[in-house]
Symmetry: D3
Subunit: 242 residues, 6 copies
C-alpha cells in the first residue's frame, strides 16, 4: 500500500510545473520556472569575453551562478553578499547547474563567448536546483536563438535538451519530485539530470537517514526517467516546439 504524500500526489507525480519565458526584459533569455511553490528566475546573459584559460581556443563557455533571496525560505537566510562569500551549498549547486548545461552545448559552435545562467530562487519549497536546471535550459535556448537571429552563429550549438528532477525514498517508498516537507523527512534524496536521449548527465544520491539499497536506487532511477521525460515535454511546449 502506497504511503500518503503530504501533498496528496501519487508517488510518480510531478508538482504543477509552469515555465514563463521573457519574464524580464534585459536578459537574452529570461525564464520563471515553478515546480509547485518553488519559483526560480533563470536568466541567460551573452557576453563577448572569455575566461583566461579558454583564450585562443576558438570555443565558448557556459557557466552558472545560483542565489537565494534572503526570504525565499521559511526563516530568513543571511544574504551571501553581506556575509562576504558564497556558501558551500551554493557553490555545489551552481557547479552542478553549469556542468549540466554544458552537457547540451557544442562549445565550438558557440564560438568565443560566454553564456552565464543566473538562477535566483524567489521562493523555495524543495527542488530548487532541479527547477533551476530545467528552467535554465529554456533560457539558454532563448539566448542561443538571439545569437542565431543576429547571424552570429553558423550552426546551432544546442545538442539536445536537459532537465532535472529529484527523487527520494519517503517513508520507505520511492517518490518523485520532493517538496520541502517531504525532503526534510525523507531517508534518501537523489538529484538526477538527464538529456532527451535518455542518457544520464548527473546522478547525486545521498542517504539522509539510513543507507539505501540497490533496489531502492533502481526504483528511484525509474521514477526520475519518467519525470524527466515529462519535464522535457513541458520545455518543448514552452519553446513552441510542439
Amino acid at each position: 500500500m502506497p504511503v500518503s504524500r503530504p501533498s496528496g500526489r501519487t508517488s510518480d507525480q510531478l508538482r504543477q510545473v509552469t515555465i514563463e519565458r521573457h519574464y524580464t526584459r534585459h536578459a537574452e533569455g529570461s525564464v520563471l520556472i515553478a515546480f509547485g511553490d518553488t519559483r526560480v528566475l533563470c536568466t541567460a546573459s551573452i557576453e563577448d569575453r572569455l575566461p583566461p584559460w579558454l583564450r585562443g581556443k576558438g570555443e565558448g563557455w557556459v557557466t552558472a551562478e545560483y542565489g537565494m533571496l534572503p526570504r525565499a525560505t521559511s526563516t530568513r537566510t543571511q544574504r551571501e553578499a553581506t556575509r562576504g562569500s558564497q556558501g558551500g551549498r551554493t557553490m555545489e549547486i551552481q557547479r552542478l547547474i553549469g556542468r549540466s548545461l554544458r552537457a547540451c552545448i557544442d562549445r565550438q559552435s558557440l564560438g568565443e563567448r560566454v553564456i552565464t545562467l543566473d538562477c535566483d530562487v524567489i521562493q523555495a519549497d524543495g527542488g530548487t536546483r532541479t527547477a533551476a536546471i530545467t528552467g535554465a535550459y529554456v533560457a539558454l535556448v532563448d539566448a542561443v536563438n538571439v545569437l542565431m537571429k543576429r547571424e552570429n552563429l553558423r550552426r546551432n550549438p544546442i545538442m539536445g535538451a536537459v532537465a532535472a528532477v529529484s527523487v527520494g525514498v519517503y517513508q520507505g517508498e520511492p517518490v518523485l519530485d520532493l517538496d520541502y516537507s517531504e525532503d526534510a523527512n525523507c531517508d534518501t534524496d537523489m538529484n538526477v539530470v538527464m538529456n532527451d536521449g535518455g542518457g544520464f548527465i548527473e546522478v547525486q544520491g545521498t542517504a539522509e537517514g539510513h543507507a539505501f539499497r540497490r533496489g531502492e536506487m533502481d526504483a528511484m532511477l525509474d521514477l526520475a526517467e519518467k519525470g524527466i521525460a515529462e519535464l522535457i515535454g513541458l520545455q518543448r511546449a514552452a519553446l513552441d516546439l510542439g
Copy 2:
C-alpha cells in the same frame, strides 16, 4: 515650452505604479512594487533577536538590505556574493532605505525584535531606491499587522506612511520620477523621502552635469511633494485603507 520626455509623460507625471502584496508566501510582508519597468521585491522578515548594541533597552530595530539580480540591468552586473562584498552604491542605498523606514516606526512599541526589509531588484529602469522605499513601507505594515494579530504588540508601532520618489532636471526642465534613459541624461538627480504629514525624511540631490540653482531645487521639491502624495495614496489603496 516643456521638453519632450522620452517616455511621453508630462513633467509632473509618475510612471505606472503597481503594488502587489503577498507576492511570496514565507515572509511576514512581501510586496512586488513596479515603477514602470522597475520592479523590486520587498520582503519584511520578523526575527526575535536584537543587534548587540540594543540589548536590554526594550526597543526594536528596523533595518534594510538591498540587492540587484545580476541581469536586472541591461548588461550583466557581477553578483556581489561572488565578488565577496557589497559595493559602495549598494551600501549607500540600503542605509537610506533603513533610515527612511525607521522614521515611521516607534521602536519602543515594536518591542525587542528586528524587522529586516530585503529589497531585491528584479528588473531595473531607474528609481530602484525610491521604489524600494515605497514598497518596503507596505511590506513593513503587513509584517506589523502579523505581529498585531499574534497579539505580540500592545500598540501599533507604525507612526505614519513613508514614500519616496526621484526628481531631476532633464534638459533644463524639472521632471518627476526619472526612468533610466532620463536619469542617464539629466543634469541633476534628487531622491526625496517624505511622510504622510508632508515632512521631509531624506533629501539627496546630486548635480550630475552642472550645479543646480536654488530655484531648480524649489521646483524639484514641489514635484516631489506632489508625487509622494500620489504614492502614499497608492500605498493606502493597496493596503485597503481606502
Copy 3:
C-alpha cells in the same frame, strides 16, 4: 529667542577654520584642515594611470578615499584594515567627496591621469566630511598647479571652487556647522556642497528625530550658502588668491 549652542557660537557662525598647506612633503597636494577640533589631512596624489573603463577616452579622473584613525574618536573605532573591509559610512563619505571634487574639474583638460584625494581624519568632532571636501579642494588645486608647472597641461582643468558645510536644526533652531555634541543631539542634519558660483553640487539632508518642514529646509539652505561663501574665502586666502 535663539537657542544657546553648547559652543557659544551664534547660529550662523562657523567654527574656527584653519587651512595649512604643504603639511606633508611627498604628496603633490597636502593640506591639514581644521574645523574647530575636527582635523583632516587631505592629500592629492597624481598617478599616470587610468581606471580600465576610462582607457582610450582622453579624459582623466578624480577620486577620493576616506579614513579615520582608530582613535580620532572619543572611543576607539576598529581599524578598517583589520576588519577587512570599509564600512558603509566610509564608502558613502568617500563617494560624496569624489563626486564633489569631480564637479569642479574639466576631465578633458586634466588628461589621462588620476588624482586621488585621500582624506584621513586625525581628530573628529563632527563635520569630518565637509571639512574633507573643503580641504581636498585646496589639495587638488596644489596638485594641479604641480602639473601646470611641469607643463603637463595645456589648460587649467579647475573650473571653480568647491566647499562644503553641515547645517542642522538644533533644539528647533537652524544652525551652521555642527560640532559633535550638536550633531548628536540635533533633529536634522544636512550636508551641503556648493561651488563659488552659488550653485548646489550636493544636498544630503536627513531627519534624525522628526521630519523637517519645507521652511526649515529653506533656512538651512540659507545658512549653508552663507557658510560656504566664507569657506571659499578662506580657501582663496590659503591659496594666496587674495
Copy 4:
C-alpha cells in the same frame, strides 16, 4: 575485449592501497592512506565544543575539512589560504567527506563534542576524495577508541564501516578506481560511498564526455560494490580487527 588501462590493471582491480596509522603524534587519529600514488593524511581531532546550532541537544558532531598542498599536483595550485577562500571543489569535497562519515556514527552516543576530520592531500593522482573518506574512517575509529579508553563514552558510537571508491567508463569500458590519467580521459566518473552492510551512502556520477546509459551505471555500481568490499577488508586489517 577489454581495454588496456594505462596502469596495466584489470578493469576491476584497485590500485595498491596502504593504510598507515599513527602517522603523526598529536592527533587522536592520524592515518596516511595511499591509493597508488595518491597520498592523503587524515587526522581526527576531538574537541569539547559544539557548533552553536547543536547546543543543548545532547548530541555530538562529525565534520571534515579538505585541503591540497600546493604542489600535490603536477602543476602548482594556488594556496587557498593565500587566495583568501576555499574554492568550490574543496567545499564540495569536504561536505561529501563530512556527510559520509556522519553516516556511520551515532551522534547521541558520541556526546557533546566535535570530531574534525582533516584530510590533506600530500600527493594527488586521482581519487583523492575516495581515499580521504576511506582513510578518515580509520582515523575516526582511532579517535573514538581514545575516547573509549578515557571512559568518556558509555557506548561505542561507531555504527559500521564506511569506504569509498571511484568508478568510471574509460574508452567504453567500466573500470574501478581511476588514477589521474584515466580520470582525465574518461567519459564518466562516479564516486560511490558505501557501508559494510552493502548500503549506499553517496552516489555522485558525472558524465564528462557523453551521457551514460542505465546499463553503464549498473556495471559501475557492481564494480564499486566489489572495490568497497575490498577496501573495508583493508580497513579492518589496518585496525587489527582480523
Copy 5:
C-alpha cells in the same frame, strides 16, 4: 675614512628627534614623534575588555596596530582598508611593536584591561617602526598615568623604558638611524629594541645585499646601544622626568 652619509650626519648620529605629547585630545595617550622627516602618530587607548584567551586570569594586555597613510610614501600606496587586508609587512611591524611594549609592562599590575597602541605613519622617511616603538612608549606612559590618576591601579605597571633604533651597514660602514635613502642603498639593516637597563628586547637584522660578518654585527649593536640611550633620554625629557 668614514663614508659621507647623504644626510651629512656622522655615522653615530641620530636624526633630529622630537616628541610631542597630547597631540590629539581623545586618546588617553597621544604622541607625535618625529625621527627627522619620519612622523608617526602614536595613540594609546584604554579599554575595559579582554581578549577571550585572557579572561579570568587577572591580567591585562598591551597590543599594537600599525598603519601608513596612503601618501606617507613618495608614491601612493594602496590603502589596506580598500585592499581588504593588512599586508605581511604591516603585520610583522605591529607584532614587533606589541611585543616590544609588552616587555616593559607588568600585566598583573595593569589589571583586566587592554591598552591598544595605534601607530599611524603620517610621513615616512625610513625607520617608521623604530620611531613607532619609541613614541608608543611615551603614549603608553601617559595612558597608564591616566589610570593611576583615576586610582584604577594599585601599582604602576610600567617596569622600565623601551626605545628602538635602526642600524645598518652603508657603503661598508656601520651607521645609526638610517633614513630612507640610506636604507634603500644599505647592505644590512637591523632594528634593535632595548630597555633602559641596557637589555635587548628585540634584534632583527637582515642582510639586504651581502651577508654580514660577526664584526659588523658587533659594531651595529654598539651603535644601537648608544642611540637608544639617547632616545631614552629624550623620552624622559618629554615626560618631564628630568
Copy 6:
C-alpha cells in the same frame, strides 16, 4: 653546572636531523626535513611567469609560502583557508623564508622565472621555520638542477648554501635548537640564518621573559654558528656533495 634540557641533549647539540629528497613526485624539488619531531615538507616549483614588478628586467624571483596542517600542533589550529586569510605569524615566517633563500641565488642567472618554495608543517615540535629554511635550500638546489639538466640555464644561480637554526636561553643557559617544550619555557628565542661562508643572513632575537644581555647574545650566536655548520654538512651529504 649546565641545566638539564628536557630532551637530555647537551646545550650545543642539535636534534636528530634527517633530510629525505624526492619525497613527492610532482615538484621539481621535494624534501621532507625532520628536526627531531618537527617535520616539514618543502617543495620547490618552477614556473615560467614573473610577478608584474619584475617584468622586462631579465631577472627571476624566489618566493616562499608557509603553512601548518591543522593538526600539526598539539591542539587543532583553525585552517587558514577556512578563516579566509593567513595570520601574522604565517606571513612573518614565509617572508623570512623567502628573504633567506633569495640570499643564496643569483637572480640574473636564474632568468625570467619564479621558484616557489612551499613549506608545509606536517608535525610541529618547535623550530618549524628554521627546519623549513634548511630543507627549502635542498629543494631549491634540486629544482635548479632540473633547470640545469633541461639546459635552461647558462650558469648555476646557486651562490652558496643557506641553513637556519634557533638558539635560546633556557633556564639561564644558552642552548641550541629548541624543541617545543624548551621554546615555551625559555627566556629568549633567536632564529639565525647563515650561509656557508659564515656570513649572517638573518638574526631575529626576541626576549620572551626578561631582556637578554650582550653576553648572552654572543653565546647564542656562537651556538648558532656551530649548529649551522653542522646543518650545512647534512645538506651537503643529502645532496651527495660529499
